[in-house]
């Protein structure tokens, strides 16, 4: 077993892992602040990818350039989803909350197919294509971009949540909404922001994904299950947990895919979810 091969597997595992991580971070943020799992998260990815593609095909804007706009667009979308839907179910029981995002998932998937058709699309030649060679190891540029982009986004998010006043308010609202509101924090606005930022993270991931993955109505499903596992593994609500878990999952699936079976490379990842929630329900870094 050559070192070069192992290195190659690790590198590409990391590349995908950072994408899973970024998607998971968006998910865990929403959960951490308001205890709601967004079952339509995969569809957010899908929307981000379609937005990137449409910008590319209509105005010729490369995904690298459209990234901030897609993130901004998804941020707004997150806000809209919160105000139109989520806010109304927060006061209800958990069932309603689950149904709400579940319905949203079905709606968005069917909607995408309705509007764009079931065909898949691909961004042809983005700027982020090609490879960089380090000796014998090949680093595909889109994967490097994914690592860089996701890391940057995570750092920015971290700074936002832990170093700004908005972040303080977010955390306060997450910890104790009632107390927070007596302190004058607009809890509803914080929730909306959580949705917006969570969606924006996904927008960044979607934009990075569009450099090398194909786009179709069900593309969300491909990534979101892995993101759920990452969130659980890292600990619901923990940002750095989601990051580490996402990366671990990226590595795990590449290694299993190579050494064991490529058709079943995700099954151990799914089983990992069960193992984690059974043995250590708060994951690696979650709050208890």
């Amino acid at each position: 077993m050559s070192e070069q091969l192992i290195l190659q597997l690790v590198v590409s595992g990391l590349g995908m892992g950072f994408i899973f991580a970024l998607i998971a971070i968006g998910l865990t943020l929403i959960y951490g602040v308001m205890d709601v799992v967004n079952f339509a998260h995969g569809e957010f990815i899908m929307l981000g990818m379609y937005a990137t593609y449409l910008a590319y095909v209509t105005w010729g804007v490369d995904p690298v350039l459209s990234l901030p706009f897609v993130a901004g667009l998804m941020f707004c979308f997150g806000l809209v989803v919160y105000y139109l839907l989520i806010r109304r179910v927060l006061t209800g029981n958990m069932q309603s909350q689950i149904f709400a995002t579940f319905g949203l998932m079905v709606f968005l998937q069917a909607g995408a197919q309705f509007v764009m058709g079931a065909d898949y699309f691909a961004v042809r030649n983005s700027w982020l294509s090609g490879v960089v060679r380090l000796g014998d190891v090949v680093l595909p540029v889109p994967q490097i971009a994914a690592v860089v982009g996701s890391s940057l986004a995570t750092i920015l998010l971290y700074l936002l949540v832990f170093r700004t006043s908005i972040g303080r308010q977010l955390r306060a609202a997450a910890q104790d909404p009632q107390a927070a509101s007596t302190l004058g924090i607009n809890v509803s606005l914080m929730y909306a922001l959580a949705w917006g930022i969570g969606a924006a993270c996904v927008g960044v991931a979607a934009s990075l994904l569009s450099n090398f993955y194909y786009i179709f109505p069900r593309v969300g499903a491909v990534f979101v299950l892995l993101a759920y596992v990452a969130v659980a593994l890292g600990g619901f609500g923990s940002i750095h947990g989601a990051l580490i878990a996402g990366v671990l999952i990226g590595l795990l699936q590449v290694v299993i895919g190579f050494f064991v079976s490529s058709e079943l490379k995700y099954v151990p990842v799914y089983m990992l979810y069960l193992a984690v929630v059974l043995l250590r329900p708060r994951g690696l870094f979650g709050r208890s």
Partner: protein, 419 residues
Amino acid sequence: MSFTRRRFSLAAGSALAFAAKPAFAADPVKVGALYPLSGQVAKSGEDTLNGIRLAVDIINKKYPNLKMPLAADEGLPGLGGAPIELIAADHQGSPETGAAEAERLIVQSKVVALVGAFHSSVAATSSQVAERMGVPYISGESEATPLTERGYRWFFRTTPSSRTQAKDFFTFLRDINKTHNNSVKSIAVVHESTLWGQEFAKSVDAYFKEFPEFQKSIFVGYQQGTADVTSEVQKLIAAKPDAVFHASYDAEAILFARTYKQYGFNPQGIMAIGASFGSSAFRDALGADANYFFVREHWSRDLAARNPLVGEVAKMYRERYGKDMDGTPARAFTAMMVLGDAINHAKSRDPEKIRDALAATDIKGDALIMPWEGVKFDKTGQNILTRGIFVQTLDGTPKMVWPADFAAAKLVWPRPAWR
């Protein structure tokens, strides 16, 4: 009370109808078509159905300059010029829905024959219905080998099966070895994990005995919804095969091709079953990197050079439906023509007579738009005169390169390095 009265008037009405209207020979002959018109492959389903619609139109109207049976006359001359009425149904890719729609078409719409179904799993269940109810079923594009191994009387298939197509890959490589110094020794297979991909892998596996000069290298399967294909490609790189057979749908074809380039994976040749690696979507997405992939095709526009009929029909298809014809609509078109030919020969709407006429089909290759030697069914209902061609993308255009006597361009082997 009102129930029985309604029943009676219905019966009376239909009796009157029968009495009043003599059964004109020119009443349309109803044929049912089962295709996926919604869901993931809706576009392909629609394109395929259009191939059938084109055939029906050619049969029904006068096209004296098309040198194929039934084109010059209006309708079916054997039935007094009766037109074919096509009734389409959407099976949504579900075997159960397909069976239900088949039944509805037979019982309620009273079709004399069925055409379908694109998906082999749907063809299986819907033709089972046809078999039980004694209605001929012809498939132009469902390739799963077991479909003609069920001992059915009413099922006919014009397209080659998956197994036959797999053999073409070996025949092709044997030919390559003759002119390229026996350079191909090991073969790897990459396949997706639905029925189609698994079937192909099985068929290829079975042929190594018949072609002992080749060794089996690695077989890599993958799930359709895979996020990346690094581990798959790395396995291929480690196995170092000389040639790679691919069974992938369009979307993953792009993913694989890109990943191959990223890692510099360059076997002597990569050849695919199904149109994926030669499709316009593939070429759009990959640009110059789409070159040198081979596709085992059923049909190519280049065939027009040997038979102008091909060009004329392709042109009609393009004009009406705004898309280029490819192998699947071409095969569906052919299946419909074969059915029309059989109904015409049967001179009857009786399904049993149509079935017998189908079994006796004997159409020569030049009356077809396919590269086949003709259409003739064996006892299992399989057309045994099919022929495959290989197409290679050169300079951004797929060109027919094999068999040699059909070639529109010279094939390039081995693949040049990635640029």
